[in-house]
Symmetry: D2
Subunit: 346 residues, 4 copies
């Protein structure tokens, strides 16, 4: 079997290099080209010495990547993927975009939060928002895959069964998320300088984070009516992982058993979603270096409230792993191909 030629644009960013790491173990894909604006001409393993003898590819430019590859993963700041998409479409190549440009179906919502209009509005009809567990069928229909954001992945999987089954109200949803520092990217800043981040903890962008409209798009779609959320992310002094604690108001008369059953049923056949036994808590340490999402359910019946804790590795299920999962589906491989490694236990 011929391997699919995979290329990564933005390969020295954190999501980019995670794609490299994961693809080096993929049996049906080979990394055919990688690019980086900042390190053009260098070897990838000079930037990431962990990849020495493993991914010594020379960093080229984006055009070369598109030329040489069948599937192009782009991991770029928002606004930069639309022109790439145009090139990929023209050459009949699949773009899996890990940025924000192709996640929203509503340009107005996109531009309200990202403060720019689409540069190529005509392309968006070819794009699908592909969170496989919720929109698996859309993957094969896409020419451009909008790969979900990290926080939205953890939140959508946490809420979907309850909303889809009408077990919780669409009002009053509160999401308190915490992300490891890799979520802030590779660029050194004062806020991610070790002595500033270590032994520190705070919220940021409370009620203002750009993942808000993406979360609302998905939850509204699942619920079948408009959902507005309050979303507050926090910076967690760990390298990897996102934990989202979601507060949902149970509909009148809904029992714990109904909720548990709905979640168990929704995820029974999902390769990458694991329900915690009641009384256990989803912990980021159990999903590190893997594509799993672990979910635990908790009840505050004094207030008729469901509390869902959901954890992912922000760099794997929240970015590169999910992108490869989408690639697998698109090309007809088993969904877990190259992604079944056991999570790091410590």
């Amino acid at each position: 079997m011929n391997k699919v030629k995979a290329g990564i644009i933005g390969a020295t960013g954190y999501a980019g290099v995670e794609l490299v790491r994961l693809l080096t173990s993929h049996p049906y894909a080979e990394i055919a080209a990688v690019s980086s604006v900042s390190y053009d001409g260098k070897k990838l393993s000079e930037v990431y010495p962990n990849l020495k003898k493993i991914a010594d590819h020379e960093l080229e430019n984006a055009d070369a990547v598109i030329e040489k590859c069948d599937v192009i993963f782009a991991s770029l700041p928002h606004g930069l993927s639309e022109p790439l998409a145009e090139q990929c479409l023209a050459k009949g190549k699949l773009l899996i975009d890990l940025g924000a440009d192709f996640r929203m179906y509503d340009e107005e919502a996109y531009s309200a939060w990202y403060k720019r209009p689409y540069s190529h509005p005509e392309l968006h009809k070819y794009a699908k928002y592909c969170l496989p567990e919720l929109y698996r069928d859309d993957v094969k229909k896409a020419k451009i895959i909008g790969n979900p954001g990290c926080y939205p992945t953890s939140v959508a999987l946490a809420c979907a069964p309850a909303l889809k089954n009408g077990l919780v109200k669409t009002e009053g949803i509160i999401i308190d998320s915490k992300s490891g520092v890799t979520g802030a990217g590779r660029n050194p800043t004062q806020g991610t300088h070790y002595p500033d981040t270590n032994e520190a903890f705070s919220a940021y962008k409370a009620g203002e984070h750009r993942h808000t409209p993406e979360i609302e798009q998905t939850l509204s779609d699942i619920a079948g009516s408009e959902v507005k959320i309050t979303f507050v992310p926090h910076l967690l002094p760990v390298n990897r992982g996102i934990e989202s604690t979601v507060y949902l108001n149970l509909c009148d008369g809904v029992t714990k058993e109904q909720v548990v059953e709905a979640y168990e049923k929704a995820y029974a056949d999902e390769l990458f979603v694991r329900m915690e036994p009641l009384g256990s808590y989803a912990n980021i340490k159990n999903v590190r270096m893997s594509n799993y999402c672990d979910i635990s359910l908790h009840f505050d019946m004094r207030n008729n409230r469901l509390i869902v804790c959901s954890v992912i590795d922000n760099m794997v299920k929240g970015a590169a792993g999910q992108a490869i999962q989408n690639m697998n589906i698109y090309f007809g491989y088993d969904e877990g191909t190259g992604l079944m490694m056991a999570p790091q236990e410590f």
Copy 2:
């Protein structure tokens, strides 16, 4: 001026040794005796080598501490402070209890959450719950001081101005708190074993934590009507610090300005509460090793919601520092005596 003789029962626990550390710098108090069930006969500095040449006191038993001291700090598991209180009262000595036994005014609420009745119900009329910023006048009236819990301190200070001024509704209050590992105490467990805790994060006791009724007692008292909360704590991989993110529903028509003004006014004269400028976030790193509580205000006006972030050092303002603050008030010293050290910046 004669120094007050201070004693610590449970001096080798984390709150106990923090009391020792802070009292060694107090100009008007001297540590006259310390006790520890586990290390009776040893020197304190053998258990805590950081205290070598500083607090080489021999660990005695509780009776000796009560005998020798004017003020007794007790830092013990719940249920053990009531008998001590009886002894202290009998000898006319002040007990500052860092445990849970004297925090609740309602025995029913206490026994519902702590699963035991009071052993000495008659003592509780001498006890006051002393969170100085909210109940300063009660401190001098107390013969037994119920020192607030760590989470409740961070939450009560976060909510008080909004509730007291009727700016937020009493329904739908959600509190998402995160605590450093010292909050779990000194006893080694699997859950606090370094490789299990490092690079890990999860909720625990969601909706079930024993600080819930203490928080509800205070918020109800401030609001003037019953308040029920959903409270979910999380274990944070840092040594010190609590961050509470509190979600409150604004009353109709309430503006940001009104909220900001209410908080600024409430805490203008408070030595240990600092309001962050708008746009900044309260961060545990700014209060470590100090008695400060930093508070920041955020608004999600799309959902008419106030988000308050509040941080303390769980071992200082959340335990030992606040206890000394209460001691200072009780004995008529300046409230900040021995507590004005600048927080650790890194």
Copy 3:
């Protein structure tokens, strides 16, 4: 091809569970049985929730493991592997012992440091000390494989080319090593309690660590004359990784170039040893979750001294990964089978 049936005795210890994690990705081995004294009857994934849906094996006893498997990995405190070895030998099954019992060729050295004689001295003639890069040929000759200790692996690979080529003196070798906390095992202790370990650092067992004779055995063998070392380990506040900084006295007239050449040549064909370019430093972060050993060379020519820095993942190349590498060699698989995953970059 039939998969080899692998069993793990002591599967809930850190090295044991790491074997499980790695073997779940091995194409030619299957985990046929696992045992644990502490958790007999439980599922492995109840003890390690990261393994849910991946390794839900029930924990049995050691006899069952030996009965059902072709190769038995034992990860036990010293003194417990000799009786197991007897059983395995009797049944013609390969024992790969990750403990200390079969690492020494000299019983006297073993008993001097481990304070016990061999219980089964007659078994030791079937045992080989198998550090593949140095003793590859011995692996196939062994019936009992003594898998090297973590520190000795990092040190032997750091020193071998210099000693073998007579570039450094055998006197005055000083080894300053630092190990992540998983090296201390899974059992919670005061010294590995998160608040005691985090933001802490110290040496331990200076000049007294039991890996000393194992290191000396290998260095002496390589040098062809007795080598005595000073070895000081330190506890490093990270989960995984060992760094050894080794100080060696250059023989008169030896040049940098000779040293570099000797190392490059020694490891040119080694799958799992990577030489850093001159000027770079071996860093534990580049080998985490992998079987690599990275080595960097530094020179203090003012003192005619070679400084070698060597890093491994203590749980992989320092334990479970090397054990699988030995299994691969023994059974004639490619040496890197199941071990070629790229190291974690963050």
Copy 4:
């Protein structure tokens, strides 16, 4: 009593802000002015929010600081302190320089390692290298105080009693040091970006660190003959603290008892040096946030070697605390004034 007016040039660097933090608790000094090139015009507490309500001083320029203050602390990159010294001398003000410019008595050694000649060679006769425990008498004689470097402080105190008493040889001294990340300063770099530093460890500048000649100057002076060392620093993933493990060759016939006695005697009256009991290890966690140096002695008698472990808080005893200790001596205050706080226990 009039307070001494203290000024800090470079107040927003890590050593600078640590001076601020410590001086706010000093009973006989007041911070009269602070400067920062990067933040001129801002408030110090805007840069360091932990100092809000505590040190809200406006950042001025260096001239203003010299003008307004009696003692000027400078914490600047090397090469910038000589012109300041000229100004201070001209105005009769004491300069305590935390940089490298006034630590070396030998210009040749300085320029060999710092790659620049002195710009003001004539000033150096007024300067003294002031490590109080070794050169207390020099403090009062200085007009310019060269405050010791962090690594040299930990190493000199570790070696002095052994060298001074002729118990160890001057050859073959090896120093393996590990420093917390604050040692790398406040400026964000790739190497100190949280995900690059966390769970990482490596050596750097092996045999090339600029603290080498400073260490050799002191050890040679103590030994009374030239001492050359091999010095290898490592970056430790903690905020604060330096641990130095020093390997020394015992002179023939020297006993453990002699060594222990020499250290006990040397430091018996020192306020800030604490000897660990035999069998205990100096740990950075026991000195954080304090001016203490803890020292432990270990023996490898198989190799006739003394191993000394020494720990300090790199920002306190290794920088700001020692500078204040020097100020106290110079002005005739008790040496520990403002520095007697107990170390952070967790």
